[in-house]
Amino acid sequence: MSQYDVVIIGGGPGGYNAAIRAGQLGLKVACVEKRDTLGGTCLNVGCMPSKALLHASELYDAAMGKEFATLGIEVKPKLNLSQMMAQKAESVTQLTKGIEFLFKKNKADWIKGAGKIVGPGKVEVTAADGAVQTLEAKNIVIATGSEPTPLPGVTIDQQRIVDSTGALSLPEVPKKLIVVGAGIIGLELGSVWRRLGAEVTVVEFLDRITPGMDTETAKTFQRSLTKQGIVFKLGAKVTGAETSKSGVKLTVEPVAGGEAETLEADYVLVAIGRRPYTEGLGLESVGVTTDKRGVIETDHFKTSAPGVWAIGDAIHGPMLAHKAEEDAVACIELIAGKAGHVDYNLVPSVVYTAPEVAWVGKTEEQLKEAGVAYKAGKFPFTANSRAKINHETDGFAKILADAKTDEILGVHIVGPQAGEMIGEYCVAMAFKAASEDIARTSHPHPTRSEAGRQAAMGVEGWTMQS
C-alpha cells in the first residue's frame, strides 16, 4: 500500500493542477487517471482539440471565402482533413506530455488506472491490464469531471450520431450536420464543420441560444452565426432518431406544440450539455451522495465525508477548465492549511467561434432580476479602427456598472479577440474597479481592446470614438 497526503482521482484540468499545486506545497501526492494520457476531457477531447480545429477551419474559411481575395491573396485551397486532424492530434499529444513533465517536476505520481474510493482514506486503482492496487490517503480529492448528457430517444453511436468527442474526429466533412443543442460546445463544433463546408442546422429546445449568455449579446452572436450560414431552429425538441448507413432521420417537434417534422442529415451532433461523471467512483463507501443532477455537494470543496474533497465539473459552478483549475488551487491550499477561495462571479466564459464571445460577471437580465440599478456602455466593433482594418467588425463590447458607485458588475464582449480581452476585466473586477477606471487607463492603439475602453466611457456618456 502506498501512503499519500493527497490522492486525486482524475487527471484533467482540475486533477492535474491539484497534483501540481500539492507537489509545489510539499505534499506527497498521487493522481489517478484511467485514460492513457493526462489532461482529461480538456486536453484530449475538449478544449484543446476543438481550438485546434477552430483555428484551422477559420483559416480555411478565410482562404476559401471572400476574405483572402479581399486582401489580395488569390488562392484555390484544398482541404486535407486527415492532415488537419493529424496536426490536432500531434499538438494534443505534446500537451499531454507537457503535463507528464510537470508531474515529474513537482514530484506528483501518476497512477494509471481507474480510481475508486473503497473506504475512508482508501483508493483502489484498477489498471488496464486488470492489476489492482490500493492507495492510502490522508485526503482524497474527487476530480472526475463530467461527460456529455445523453438525449433520451437518441443513442450516440459515434458513427452517425456523435457527441463532442466524436465530432472532433469525423472521418469526412459532413454534407449536412445537425447539431442538437445551441450551447457553447454545439456552436463551436457546428462552426468548425460549417467552415469546412458542411451545411449546419442547430436545433435548440429553448427559444434562444446559449442560455446564461447576456441576451442582447446572444442575439448579436446569433445574427453573426446566421450570416455565416448556420441555420437555427429554436423552440424545437428532438424526440427520436433513426440511423442508417448513410445518415440520420431526426424527429423534431415544436416545444410549444404542433406538428412533428423529420430532418435529415448525414451526421448528428448531440451537445445538449454535460453532467458530472461519478460512475464507479465508490462514493457510497464514504457516504457521499450526489444531487439529482449528479453534482457532489460541497462546502468550500469539502464533501460530507471527512477527508474527502471534490472540485471541478463534479461540483457546482461553471463547467469550465479554468474554474476547475481555480478550484484545484484553492482546495489544495485548504488541505495544506492555508486559505483558499474562488469567486465564481469572476470566472469568465468564452465561446471560441468567430466572432468570439466572452463575458464575466452579471448579465443585464441578472441585474434586472436582482433589482440592481445599473448603467450600460456599449461600443460596436464597426467603430474600432483595428477591427475595421482587419475586416472583423461584427459585434460590440458592453460594460455594465452600478448606477451609483460605477463599480463594474458585468462585461460582455462579442467580437474579435473577446477571449483574450476579458482577462483585463476579471482583474478590474477583482479590484472592484469602476468603469471610469477602465476609461481612464491607457489602452494601446490600434487594438480591439480599445472597444472596451470606449464602452467604459459610454457608461458615463462620454464615448469618444462613436
Binding site: K404, T405, D406, F431, K432, A433, A434, E436, D437, R440
Partner: protein
C-alpha cells in the same frame, strides 16, 4: 547646532502657519530674540532664539504649515556669523523634515504602505478637495474605490461639520484679484457656518433708554476713574445686566451637547473686540464676581492684548455668553450670529436720540436697540424675550442691579 522648534500650540490646535521670519539665514541672533511669528486658528505665536548665535538655516519658510515639534530652522550657538551658514541656506529649499500637508490639495496616495486608490477615486478627491487618507476603502486590500469616494463626499455634504471647499477655484475675470484667506479668517468663516448650520438661530429685539446709565456715568465718572484707575464705560453695565438676566433665564447660559443640555453655573462673558485681523472674543471669567471696575479693567486688558496680537488660547475658550457691540461702528440694528457652542449673544448698537413717549409726553431720549440672537433649540421665545426685558430693566434702572432684582 540647535533646532528652532515649533512649540505646543494649544489643546485642540494641531497646525500653524509660518507668518513671518524676522531674521534671515546668516543673521546673528541673541537669546530670547524673536526669530519667527507663527499663526494659528486662534492666536499668533512668537518663537524666540534659544541661545546666542547665528541663524544658519530656515527649514520652514513663510506660508509653510507646521506642527508642534516641527523644526523651523537651525542655528549655531556661540559668536559671529559663520561662512558655512550662508552656503547652507539654499538647502532650506529642500523638503522640510516633517511632512506638511497643504490643506487645499489632498495627496492622492497616503503613506507608502497604503494601497493606491482607484484612478477614478483620485479624480474625485482632486476635484472635491477630499482627503483620501480619511476615506475607508472597500476595494481589494482596503483600496479606496470610486464608490467609497462618492460615499465620502455624500457624508461630508450631509454632515453639519465644516463643509468642504467647493471644487477647483473659478477663473479670475479681469479687474478681479484673488487673495488667500488668513487662517484666522478661514477659521472664523468655518465657525460662523457651523453656528448657522447647527443652531435654530433667531433674533429678538428690544430698545433701551440709556439716560439713566448716562446720568450715572456723568455724575460719577471722575471719582470712579480716580478711585479705580479705569474709565467707567457702558460695557460693564451691560455685562452686569446680562449676568442678572442670565441668572433669571438660565437657558441662555446653557449649551446643547447631543441630546443633553448643559447648564452652566458660572458666568464667563465674552466681549467681542475688533482687530485688524478680524473679530476675536476674549472671555471675562467669572464676571459675576467682579465689580463694575473689575469688569472694566478686564475688558481693557483683553482689548489691549487683542490689538497687540497677544491673546492666548485660554483667553478665548470657554465663554458662556457673548456681548457684541456694533454700535461703535454706527450700527443701529443688527442680528448677531451665535458664538458656538453658546446659546445666546447680545448685540449692542448705536445710541441715538429719538423722540419717545414717557408718561404721555413726547421727550427726547438716548435710545439703543438691543438684539438677542439665541438658539431656539435650547431657549424658548418667552425666555429670549424675558432675557432682553431684564437687560433693558437693569440698564434703565441700574438700582435694580444693586438690589439684585
Amino acid at each position: 547646532m540647535a533646532d528652532i522648534m515649533t512649540p505646543a500650540l494649544g489643546e485642540s490646535v494641531t497646525e500653524a502657519t509660518v507668518a513671518r521670519w524676522t531674521k534671515k539665514a546668516g543673521d546673528a541672533v541673541r537669546k530670547d530674540e524673536i526669530l519667527v511669528e507663527l499663526e494659528t486658528d486662534k492666536v499668533s505665536l512668537e518663537v524666540a532664539a534659544p541661545a546666542d548665535g547665528v541663524l544658519s538655516e530656515i527649514l520652514a519658510g513663510e506660508g509653510d504649515t507646521v506642527e508642534p515639534g516641527t523644526v523651523l530652522g537651525k542655528m549655531s550657538e556661540g559668536g559671529a556669523a559663520a561662512a558655512p551658514a550662508k552656503a547652507e541656506a539654499p538647502k532650506a529649499e529642500a523638503k522640510p523634515e516633517p511632512k506638511a500637508e497643504a490643506a487645499p490639495a489632498p495627496a492622492p496616495a497616503k503613506s507608502e504602505a497604503a494601497k493606491p486608490a482607484a484612478p477614478s477615486a483620485q479624480r474625485i478627491a482632486a476635484e472635491n478637495n477630499l482627503d483620501l487618507a480619511k476615506v475607508s476603502g472597500s476595494g481589494k486590500d482596503g483600496r479606496v474605490t470610486k464608490g467609497d469616494a462618492i460615499a465620502a463626499l455624500e457624508t461630508r455634504a450631509s454632515a453639519p461639520a465644516p463643509a468642504a471647499a467647493p471644487s477647483a477655484p473659478r477663473e479670475l475675470h479681469e479687474r478681479e484679484e484673488r487673495v488667500r484667506m488668513t487662517r484666522l479668517r478661514q477659521t472664523i468663516a468655518r465657525r460662523l457656518k457651523e453656528a448657522q448650520n447647527n443652531a435654530a438661530m433667531l433674533t429678538t429685539f428690544n430698545e433701551v433708554d440709556m439716560s439713566a446709565v448716562m446720568a450715572l456715568r456723568t455724575e460719577y465718572k471722575d471719582v470712579f476713574e480716580k478711585r479705580h484707575g479705569v474709565r467707567l464705560g457702558f460695557m460693564s453695565f451691560f455685562v452686569k445686566a446680562c449676568i442678572a438676566a442670565l441668572k433669571q433665564v438660565p437657558d441662555v447660559n446653557a449649551e446643547i451637547d447631543g441630546q443633553d443640555i448643559i447648564y452652566k453655573n458660572h458666568y464667563d462673558i465674552g466681549v467681542a473686540v475688533g482687530t485688524e485681523k478680524g473679530l476675536v472674543v476674549p472671555v471675562i471669567r467669572d464676571a459675576d464676581e467682579m465689580s463694575l471696575a473689575g469688569v472694566e479693567k478686564a475688558i481693557g486688558a483683553m482689548g489691549k492684548k487683542a490689538r497687540d496680537g497677544q491673546l492666548a488660547l485660554d483667553d478665548l475658550q470657554g465663554g458662556t455668553f457673548t456681548i457684541s457691540n456694533g454700535g461703535v461702528y454706527g450700527s443701529l440694528m443688527s442680528t448677531p450670529i451665535l458664538n458656538a457652542p453658546q446659546s445666546g449673544i447680545l448685540g449692542m448698537h448705536k445710541i441715538q436720540e429719538r423722540p419717545m413717549v414717557v408718561k404721555g409726553q413726547v421727550v427726547i431720549r438716548p435710545m439703543m436697540y438691543l438684539a438677542l440672537s439665541y438658539d431656539h433649540r435650547v431657549v424658548d421665545g418667552q425666555g429670549a424675550v424675558t432675557f432682553l426685558v431684564k437687560v433693558k430693566d437693569a440698564i434703565e434702572d441700574p438700582q435694580r442691579l444693586l438690589l439684585d432684582l
